[in-house]
């Protein structure tokens, strides 16, 4: 039993590290490291750099432009990306709709959509949740009425991340109500965001930023060629997406990076005469988190090891989202504590390029800590809330 890398894997790690050193743009790095929001342009530029390297489709099959990486390669890549504090790809295109299209779409759809997804030519957003359908997603009510060569879409999607930047949207819609189980009436469709009848309304989140949206569809006509697979099979296709997230869902590498940053910060900045890391209460809290994160790291490795030898992920993999998000949120709390009073100023205007130092409140990005803490309360709510995840484990793992 061992966890060391092969010499090929070590060489791969070197290559990846070199890529991040050489190809990760300074301008974007500066923004990431100083809590400055990336523009749409920044995100697309970076994703195109990954695409040029051939690393946009990490989980895609080689036939569609994927990397063909083993789980260990993906694990190494995640670590190097986290250590560089580089942005991960916006998941909706590459991780969500892409796999659905190449698994269940027809040849014409694959040709039409996949290359633009991989190359970040088209920005995708996700139309799943509705005001009345959060945890109970299958109860969704947005309708797609078949009228000749078109579907007419009517309804509202909500919590659509970065919908304001999107070119296209993929939606779970109701094509039939005459079904035994509500899941059986759901279809998976694609829509151009420029289609008449689509309105995007910003939803401001707790920290004051515009990250999510409500999207209204009023008599929106889409061609029936935008249906993926078969009518009534949309729910199954949607569930397939979830299997693609195993290697990154826990966010272990990013959390480890953040804990190191926290150690550095609390080891150097002096609070009331001494570094916070010398405070026994605080250092114990950091140690506990380190231990929990190490445990999560190995739970993820167990999942990877199983998948690497062709086995299905075991029950331990179900806890990755739950513990991963809880740990992320605990790290947010410790950053809050480390910022002390400087967590209080609300100065989002400070987080722009070339903000004059003499006008800055606090040092570094201390004042951004609370914005992150507040915003990231969403982590235990989105992607299948932690409560729903526990229901899934109880039912499918414990058989309760």
């Amino acid at each position: 039993m061992h966890i060391s890398f092969t010499s090929k894997e070590i060489a791969f790690q070197k290559d990846v590290r070199q890529f991040f050193t050489e190809k990760y743009p300074e301008a974007i790095k500066h923004k990431q490291n100083n809590a400055i929001t990336l523009s749409r342009d920044d995100i697309v530029t970076w994703q195109k750099i990954l695409f040029k390297q051939g690393w946009a489709g990490i989980n895609w099959p080689k036939e569609h432009g994927g990397t063909g990486w083993t789980p260990v390669h993906k694990y190494i890549f995640a670590i190097e990306m986290a250590n560089a504090n580089a942005p991960a790809m916006v998941p909706f295109g590459v991780q969500m709709v892409g796999p659905v299209i190449y698994t269940f779409g027809n040849e014409e759809q694959k040709k039409r959509f996949l290359p633009d997804i991989l190359a970040s030519n088209v920005w995708w957003c996700q139309g799943y949740s509705e005001p009345g359908s959060g945890s109970d997603l299958a109860s969704l009510r947005m309708t797609a009425d078949r009228k000749g060569d078109h579907y007419i879409l009517n309804g509202t999607k909500t919590w659509t991340t970065l919908g304001q930047m999107a070119d296209w949207i993929f939606c779970l819609v109701r094509t039939s109500t005459d079904v035994a189980r509500k899941q059986e009436g759901i279809s998976f469709v694609l829509a151009d965001m420029k289609t008449p009848g689509i309105t995007v309304r910003p939803i401001i989140t707790i920290e004051g930023e515009h990250e999510v949206n409500e999207i209204h569809f009023e008599d929106t006509k889409i061609p029936i060629t935008n249906l993926i697979g078969e009518e009534g099979k949309g729910w199954t296709y949607g569930k397939v997406l979830l299997r693609h997230e195993r290697t990154s869902i826990a966010g272990v590498a990013r959390s480890q990076y953040r804990l190191r940053r926290l150690r550095d910060k609390t080891g150097s900045s002096i609070v009331n005469g001494e570094p916070l890391s010398k405070n026994p209460n605080f250092s114990r809290k950091m140690a506990k988190l380190e231990i929990e994160l190490k445990a999560l790291e190995y739970t993820e490795l167990r999942t990877l090891a199983a998948v690497a030898v062709g086995k299905a992920p075991g029950p331990e993999s179900s806890l990755l989202k739950i513990r991963g998000t809880e740990i992320q949120q605990h790290i947010d709390e410790l950053f809050m504590e480390a910022s002390g009073y400087f967590a209080l100023p609300y100065v989002p205007d400070q987080y722009v390029l070339d903000f004059p130092d003499d006008q800055r409140i606090g040092s570094g990005s201390e004042t951004a800590t609370s914005l992150r803490y507040f915003n990231n309360r969403k982590a235990s709510i989105y992607g299948g809330s932690n409560e729903i995840q526990k229901n899934i484990i109880a039912k499918h793992v414990l058989g309760l």
Binding site: S129, G132, S133, G134, S135, D136, S139, T158, W159, I203, I204, T205, I206, E207, G208, I270, V271, N272, G273, N279, N281, F282, E333, M336, E337, G340, Y341, F342, A343, L344, P345, Y346, V347, Q359, I361, S370, L371, Y373, F374, N375, R377, K378, S380, I381, Y382, S385, E387, K390
Partner: protein, 379 residues
């Protein structure tokens, strides 16, 4: 043994609650929070007219002779209402200093106006390097030709942007964190050498970073005795700690109640989510935390007259409880509201932010647990 409040106290509590529910609407509060204004000047006038700004001052000083019970009752309602007017900064902090050790002339000059709602004030109790140690003061006050020259930087000065009068603790002798050697100076905000960087805080209140460069003041600016301000400062901060703890309890109860109501109305999987036992148990947990917190608040208020270590121990116990239980109640409220809990539109997220800010004010849970331990060692 009698844990009831008096008739007058009940009337005060109910009048504040009534104002909050009838007149202090969330939409109006948010309009101001989202504007460049720091608070409603109209509301502040109303608070003065209703006598609220006079509550914790003696009748000799022109006040209503109220104490910790009255403040507790008012602050709980202010918490529920997400009130952003600077009651804490003016009445508890600045007013607290002045009532304790200002001279008759100084009280007539400043305290009367504060009570009348006609003077905005602030107490600059914090510096960048202090952490939560109010004795850690590097701002200096050097004697020069009979006057004093102040140099230094104050941080997170609550209500600093609106303050016309700023009370500055400065070091007249001793080392940076000595308890002796601290003197309080009352400095008008427009005096030469004062520079403010004003901002709002994440809980829709406001504060300033204030720089003092060769600020020249006369002896008359000194409040109380030279080198001897620590006890006044500490007692005032303890009052403020008690006050925000009461505010926090008002918030916690509101969050808990809203969560129960929301889960009863939110239907998923064909049933209200309040029917799920897992959530019911969690709501019982938050109820227990609210009630335990309320109990510690009552204890603190009853022990308050003893002063000194006993009072401080109770206040630290309470603040520790607010920090830990408050965090839990707040996070649970957000979680059980689902996506709505992280939306700007709903008051839950703003209640959560204020609760989070209160944990930081005047020492977080860890700080007060440590203070409780060291006070226990002494007794």
């Amino acid at each position: 043994m009698d844990l009831s409040i008096s008739v007058e106290q009940k009337i005060l509590s109910e009048s504040v609650a009534r104002f909050i529910s009838n007149d202090y609407l969330f939409e109006n509060r948010m309009k101001i929070a989202e504007s460049t204004e720091y608070f409603s000047k109209e509301c502040w006038k109303t608070y003065a007219e209703l006598g609220w700004t006079a509550v914790p001052f003696s009748e000799d000083d022109g006040g209503l002779g109220g104490g910790p019970v009255e403040i507790m009752l008012m602050m709980k309602e202010f918490g529920r209402g997400l009130v952003i007017e600077p009651f804490l900064a003016n009445i508890i902090l600045a007013g607290g200093i002045l009532k304790r050790c200002a001279s008759k002339e100084q009280k007539e000059k400043w305290l009367t106006k504060i009570i009348g709602g006609n003077l905005q004030a602030a107490l600059a109790f914090n510096e960048k390097q202090s952490g939560f140690n109010i004795a850690n003061i590097s701002t200096t006050a050097k004697k020069e030709n009979g006057n004093f020259v102040l140099n230094g930087e104050k941080s997170l000065v609550l209500n600093g942007g609106s303050a016309e009068l700023i009370i500055i603790p400065a070091r007249t002798s001793g080392k940076q964190d000595d308890i002796e050697g601290i003197t309080l100076f009352a400095v008008p905000a427009e005096v030469k050498g004062i520079k403010k960087k004003n901002y709002k805080t994440v809980d829709a209140h406001s504060a300033s970073e204030i720089t003092l460069s060769n600020v020249n003041v006369t002896k008359d600016a000194i409040i109380g005795r030279i080198d001897n301000a620590y006890k006044t400062l500490q007692d005032t901060i303890d009052d403020a700690t008690l006050a925000v703890s009461a505010e926090a309890i008002g918030i916690m109860k509101s969050l808990h109640e809203k969560t129960v109501e929301y889960t009863k109305s939110r239907v998923q999987f064909g049933v209200p989510i309040s029917s799920f036992q897992a959530l019911q148990h969690r709501m019982v947990d938050t109820l227990m935390e609210c009630e335990q917190s309320e109990s510690l608040l009552l204890w603190s208020v009853m022990v308050y007259p003893e002063g000194d270590a006993n009072m401080q121990k109770a206040i630290s116990a309470l603040k520790y409880q607010i920090g830990t239980a408050g965090k839990h109640v707040g996070q649970e409220a957000v979680q059980m509201h689902g996506g709505m809990g992280v939306s700007w539109e709903l008051d839950v997220s703003h209640l959560f932010k204020r609760l989070t800010a209160i944990d930081i004010l005047f020492g977080n849970a860890d700080f007060h647990l440590d203070r409780f331990v060291s006070l226990s060692k002494k007794s």
